[in-house]
């Protein structure tokens, strides 16, 4: 039987990728229940406004977001932020549930490497996001729908750039169907 295989494109790098998660390059053939490649199913889904859920750590990323707001910086309305005490609190479940329930992209943003207020929370988050990306790829979903960024609380420009970059990335992708 000729099994169709999802085209294994390199994940398109988001506009800002300084601290991008490195994802193991695994090729996992996957097809939908109907035998049609998953990407085609997705492409068929009704288009519309994208939705991105961002998990921001209370110490750095959320501060940077507030500072961007106070500066009246225009940001993509697709992005909705959720406060977490530390990026280490975010589990793969949270990211996958958001994607399953209507988000087209998710990301985690926290403190710079080595400056996590809980020492290692952001390293745990990096690992988990990498895991989610592998998982997405293995089921034929674009791994770049999940991302992780780090920034200092003062680095408003970086928060803005990462938010816009993520929005740009997700807008290139078709909408994800709600489960």
């Amino acid at each position: 039987m000729n099994v169709p295989v999802v085209a294994e494109a390199e994940p398109t790098a988001p506009a800002v990728a300084a601290t991008e998660v490195r994802v193991a390059q695994v090729r996992v053939p996957e097809i939908s229940a109907a035998g049609v490649p998953v990407s085609e199913v997705i492409a068929d889904a009704a288009d519309g406004e994208r939705s991105i859920v961002a998990f921001l750590c209370r110490e750095c990323a959320y501060s940077a977001a507030d500072a961007a707001g106070n500066a009246r910086t225009s940001l993509p309305p697709t992005i909705r932020t959720i406060m977490v005490p530390c990026t280490g609190r975010v589990s793969p479940l949270h990211l996958l549930a958001a994607l399953a329930e209507g988000a087209d992209g998710v990301y985690v943003a926290g403190c710079l490497e080595g400056q996590c207020h809980h020492r290692v929370g952001n390293f745990h988050a990096l690992d988990r996001v990498a895991f989610v990306r592998r998982l997405l790829r293995s089921v034929g979903v674009e791994p770049e729908r999940a991302a992780m960024f780090t920034m200092s609380a003062a680095d408003t420009p970086r928060f803005v750039a990462t938010a816009r970059g993520m929005d740009a990335t997700i807008s290139q992708l078709p909408r994800l169907p709600r489960s």
């Binding site: 998990f55 225009s74 909705r80």
Partner: protein, 1112 residues
């Protein structure tokens, strides 16, 4: 179902200018669980508060959703309202409509409105899943532990005590004072450091709320903030509180060590006090354990002690130390195989110290004149000692010293046992043995010679005649003969018989060709004796090969030099002869693998049997108990030819009967027999007194080791070789072969000792102390304290300038560091404040100071940071030198002059005007001249010019690094260290004296380089943090902490391994489950995200709440 009220804030148009709030409110009313939606102009003000209070009461709300600015701004305001309304913690949810929506989507109001609807729905959904939480309250112990007794620790302790908090001030060293105590004066005021430190020290010593623990280290920390449990390890001071600080002890102490307080510019004694105002004011003994020689000696003789005294020519005192555990120092100085020398640390540098030879000289020199002290008290219990060998006589002397009347029974006509009858006189002259036996008898010991146990008397008869205890130190006087064919031939004799006959002057003849069978010391003694008795050819034949021969190598070498032949790896199989011995037949052999007892029986190997001509064969193949010796000693068991004793009491199977020495041990060297005799004496004393008054086995101390690094700094000095009679002269002579040391040789050899143990345990101080304060029995002890908070003020250390080899520090005598210079300039320092250069004690005329040594240095050998104080430190010292020695020029070579701060620039101007030359420069290598002056080459970085000049003294401004103690405490209590080991603060600006761990604060140079005023300011800030933390005695635990449900937890322990605070542990409450210490938890939630069972959650951020918010 929860009852949720939504409150939307217009924020004076900030939100309502972009969003249509009435429309948002209308949509909100249809959300699940929402019973009310209200819009207010300013929700955060008093009006908003009244509004919320009213609606909550009217509509019976149990959840509040706030649609306003970011939670980070007004969140606490609304949480407080909910708390005041007794809704519980975690009952408010937030929709960020300002920073998260209106502000950032001003140009897209439609999209902003749609997003606001989602954000609000998410907040409402989240509120429905938020479980109200009750904060627990924790007890706060109103006490604090301050680690580090420098100016930071002292200032913090003083401040805390002033606030009524009990302080435990812990210091590793023997005195409080820290680095500041070493300084001469302080900048920019040039006031004396001790003048400002002294009152702080006095205060710490006298304030009843400050408990000072010196010589103490923190070894563990557990428990939550407010109730930390701290483990402390106290090292012994060996000086009790009775010390009056008179200093008599230092005068008599023979051990000199490098002074840490004076940073190596001078030496101190092993008992010392770093400075006059030390707190506590008592002296302390630097005892690093037993030196390897003492550890190794079976009697644990304080060898380092008599060597230290010998090095000063204090022979009588040295004899006291050498003879304390051993009545035969003169004997042992001659015949001991001295395993102590094999272990001597000096052997790692050049050759071991000739310990035995020094001991011999000491004993020969001072033994005769040593007074015999009467016992302190007397007992009436008579003790019989059977056997006047080293074990028996040692026990007799020790028992006599303890106050017992002792009678020694000896089978032979003379006392001394094997020392007198076994060891030949060319090794151990008879008068040497006789005089030491005499000294034992001088203690009032009665000797009954010529009476044999089992023949003239028995154990039974001794006990019946009134002896309360009997010690069997019978030895093994019987030579063993091998059961070979031809054994009965004339000319076959036992080695012991040969030696004994010679020693007693009995007639004895050996033939022309003598073969000695055996490989031990007795065989060598027998061979050399046979040679001196006129044998022409003497052969030692043994089953061992050359390498494993048990005889002392020195003795064997001397025997071979005298002409004795060695025939190894041969086992005797037959003695041949017709009526008289003519030869002995051997079979070549090897030794089998050791059996269970370690005995290696010979096994014949290939090869033809060898026949050796012999008219005399001497068997030296083992010894046995005398026949009948144990007749009339029922209950005394014998196993393997040895009397069985209980190891702990030295008692045999019969009560009141003890045994020691060869008879109980077998194959002992003299010092082992002596140690056994001493143990028996203590065992008998304990038995007669009916309680364990003395340790039968000495309590061993840790072995002191000298590190390779330390060793590498010592100069090599060869060992004194002892003169001997030449072999050709001595093979026919009974004169002592080894001639001993001269006084000069003994002194020179004793001075080679490295003083490994620090204190040598010579006990000179104990004898000299008028207050009786010396207590060498003190041991380290641990304790656990409960304290509410910790302040870590463990300070800094100077950068080790040896890491910069071109600067010559440690190699060139006249290169010092600023801290060492501070000691030389200090009125209380080693030179009384006079500047004298180390090489020749002259006042230097030209002084060169080099800045930034190890600081502002990005090479791997240095530190990147600026050490902050060095420019001023050098300026201060330059000023002090110019003031006292106007004829001395001072040059300061700097990278940049950095001295911001109050009065600092003014001070620099003043000092520059006093004639100090400042040159901005880069310095190359330093070279030492013939007269120890230093040639310095530098490049002027302003003009680019190259310079070369001679200086009498070079002072390096070595930078600051975190102290070793800082690194140690950081490891123990889990603090983060940054570059150069300095402790990391929680937030460099906002929480500069908080550590990463709750309840632990940091101050002083442990946090970073800084001067004294900033150090004190930080210390007082840390004290203020502790005071505010502990104020009230109770604290509410934050609710946003982790919690594990014991019913769901599977006990996998992932949470324990990921927690950055160490706040989770596994407990076994019927079933293993995780338990979070909520006072230590900081609520990061890593554990909750990792938990595979879903048992772990975080207050305010449960999976349910987060998922509700994320999936709207």
């Amino acid at each position: 179902m929860t009852r949720c009220g939504v409150f939307l804030c217009e924020c004076g148009g900030n939100i309502s200018g972009v969003l249509d709030l009435p429309a948002l409110a209308a949509g909100g009313r249809s959300l699940d669980g929402v019973v009310n939606v209200t819009v207010s102009q300013f929700l955060c003000g008093a009006e908003g508060r009244r509004l919320i209070e009213g609606v909550v009461a009217d509509r019976g709300l149990d959840r509040i959703v706030i649609g306003s600015c970011s939670r980070r701004f007004q969140g606490p305001t609304f949480e407080r309202i909910a708390r005041d309304l007794e809704l519980g913690e975690n009952t408010v949810a937030f929709a960020n409509l300002r920073e998260g929506c209106a502000f950032i989507h001003r140009h897209e109001p439609e999209k902003a409105q749609r997003k606001a609807e989602t954000v609000l729905a998410a907040a409402v959904a989240r509120a429905g899943r938020q479980r109200p939480l009750q904060p627990s309250r924790t007890f706060l112990n109103r006490s604090a532990l301050v680690v580090g007794g420098g100016i930071a620790g002292l200032s913090a302790a003083e401040e805390l005590a002033g606030a009524g908090i009990t302080v435990h001030l812990v210091e590793r060293g023997q005195s409080l004072g820290g680095y500041m105590a070493r300084l001469s004066k302080t900048f920019p005021t040039e006031d004396c450091a001790m003048c400002s430190l002294g009152p702080r020290l006095a205060n710490a010593a006298t304030d009843s709320r400050i408990n000072v623990h010196t010589l103490t280290e923190v070894t563990g920390l557990s428990g939550p903030p407010g109730e930390f449990r701290v483990r402390l390890r106290h090292s012994p001071r060996f000086v009790s509180d009775q010390c009056v600080g008179c200093g008599t002890c230092t005068a008599v102490c023979p051990v000199e060590l490098e002074s840490e307080f004076d940073l190596g510019v001078t030496r101190r004694k092993a008992i010392s006090r770093p400075f006059a105002n030390a707190v506590p004011s008592t002296f302390a003994i630097d005892n690093r354990g037993w030196a390897p020689c003492t550890s190794t000696c079976p009697a644990h003789t304080a060898a380092q002690g008599y060597i230290a005294l010998a090095a000063q020519g204090r022979w009588a005192e040295a004899y006291r130390v050498a003879s304390a555990p051993n009545p035969f120092p003169s004997v042992c100085g001659r015949i001991c195989p001295h395993e102590c020398e094999e272990q001597c640390t000096r052997g790692r540098l050049d050759q071991p110290v000739a310990i035995a030879a020094i001991k011999r000289f000491v004993a020969d020199q001072a033994g005769a004149a040593d007074p015999v002290e009467p016992p302190v008290r007397r007992f009436e219990d008579r003790v019989a000692v059977v056997g006047a060998g080293p074990a028996g006589l040692t026990a007799a002397r020790d028992l006599a010293l303890l106050g017992y009347p002792v009678t020694v029974f000896e089978a032979q006509g003379v006392a001394g046992g094997m020392l007198r009858l076994g060891v030949p006189e060319y090794r151990l002259p008879r008068d040497v043995v006789a005089s030491e036996v005499e000294r034992v008898l001088a203690h009032g010991v009665e000797l009954r010679a010529g009476e044999r146990c089992g023949h003239d008397y028995t154990v039974d008869s001794l006990l019946a005649s009134g002896y309360r205890a009997v010690l069997l130190a019978l030895g093994l006087p019987q030579a063993r003969l091998l059961p070979l064919e031809g054994r009965e031939l004339p000319g076959v004799i036992g080695g012991l018989d040969l030696l004994r006959s010679r020693a007693l002057g009995d007639p004895i003849a050996v033939g022309r060709c003598v073969v000695v069978v055996g490989g031990g010391d007795v065989a060598v003694d027998a061979a050399r004796t046979a040679l001196r008795l006129g044998a022409e050819r003497v052969t030692i034949a043994c089953i061992e090969d050359r390498a494993t021969l048990p005889a002392q190598p020195g003795e064997l070498a001397e025997a071979i030099a005298e002409g004795v032949e060695l025939a190894p790896s041969l086992m005797p199989v037959a003695l041949l002869g017709d009526g008289a011995l003519s030869s002995i037949r051997f079979q070549p052999c090897t030794l089998a693998e050791p059996d269970a007892r370690g005995w290696r029986p010979p096994e014949p190997s290939a090869g033809e049997p060898v026949e050796v001509e012999a008219d005399t064969v001497v068997f030296c193949v083992g010894q046995a108990l005398g026949e009948d010796a144990l007749a009339g000693a029922a209950g005394v068991a014998v196993a393997g030819g040895r009397i069985v004793v209980d190891r702990e009491t030295m008692m045999t199977g019969r009560r009141g009967v003890f045994a020691a020495g060869d008879a109980a041990g077998g194959g002992l060297i003299a010092i082992e027999a002596i140690a056994a005799g001493a143990r028996a004496a203590r065992g008998i004393h304990n038995h007669l007194r009916g309680e364990a008054l003395l340790d039968v086995w000495p309590v061993e101390r840790e072995r002191a080791e000298v590190s390779d690094l330390e060793l590498s700094r010592r100069r090599s000095r060869p060992r004194q070789e002892m003169r001997v009679i030449p072999p050709e002269e001595r093979r026919t002579s009974w004169q002592e072969v080894r001639l001993g040391f001269t006084e000069e040789e003994a002194l020179a050899e004793a001075r080679r000792c490295l003083s490994c143990g620090g204190c040598s345990e010579c006990r000179s101080c104990e004898q000299a102390c008028p207050a009786g304060a010396i207590d060498l029995t003190q041991k380290p002890w641990e304790e656990e304290l409960t304290v509410g908070a910790l302040i870590v003020a463990t300070g800094h250390q100077e950068f080790d300038a040896r890491r910069k080899p071109p600067l010559g520090y440690g190699r060139y005598a006249n290169v010092l560091t600023q801290s060492q210079l501070a000691r030389l300039l200090s009125a209380s320092g080693p030179t009384g404040g006079e500047l004298r250069r180390p090489s020749d004690g002259q006042v230097p005329k030209r002084v060169f100071m080099l800045q930034c040594v190890g600081s502002r240095d990005s090479t791997s050998r240095g530190n990147e940071h600026c050490s902050a104080i060095c420019c001023l430190f050098a300026t201060l010292h330059a000023s002090l030198i110019r003031e006292s020695y106007p004829g001395t020029q001072v040059t300061i070579a700097y990278t940049d002059l950095r001295m911001p701060g109050k009065g600092h620039e003014e001070y620099l101007k003043l000092v520059a005007e006093r004639g100090v030359r400042y040159v901005r420069s880069r310095v190359g290598e330093l070279a030492e001249e013939q007269d120890k002056s230093l040639r310095v080459r530098w490049e002027d970085t302003v003009t680019g010019g190259k310079h070369e000049e001679l200086f009498d003294l070079v002072v390096l401004s070595a930078g600051l690094e975190a102290s070793a103690g800082t690194t140690q405490i950081a490891r123990v209590i889990g603090l983060q260290q940054g570059a150069a080991g300095f402790l990391k603060e929680y937030h460099p600006k906002l929480r500069p004296v908080d550590s990463q761990r709750a309840g632990i604060f940091i101050a002083g140079t442990a946090q970073g380089p800084k001067g004294i005023p900033e150090t004190i300011a930080q210390a007082k800030a840390a004290a203020a943090r502790v005071t505010s933390m502990l104020h009230g005695g109770m604290a509410a635990t934050p609710v946003e902490v982790a919690f594990s449900d014991p019913d769901v937890c599977i006990g996998c322990g992932v949470c324990v391994s990921v927690c950055p605070q160490g706040a989770v542990r596994l407990v076994d409450g019927g079933r293993v489950h995780a338990l979070v210490d909520q006072a230590s938890c900081r609520g990061c939630g890593i554990c909750a995200a990792e938990c595979p069972s879903g048992a772990m959650t975080v207050g305010g951020f449960s999976d349910a709440a987060l998922l509700a918010e994320a999936t709207v």
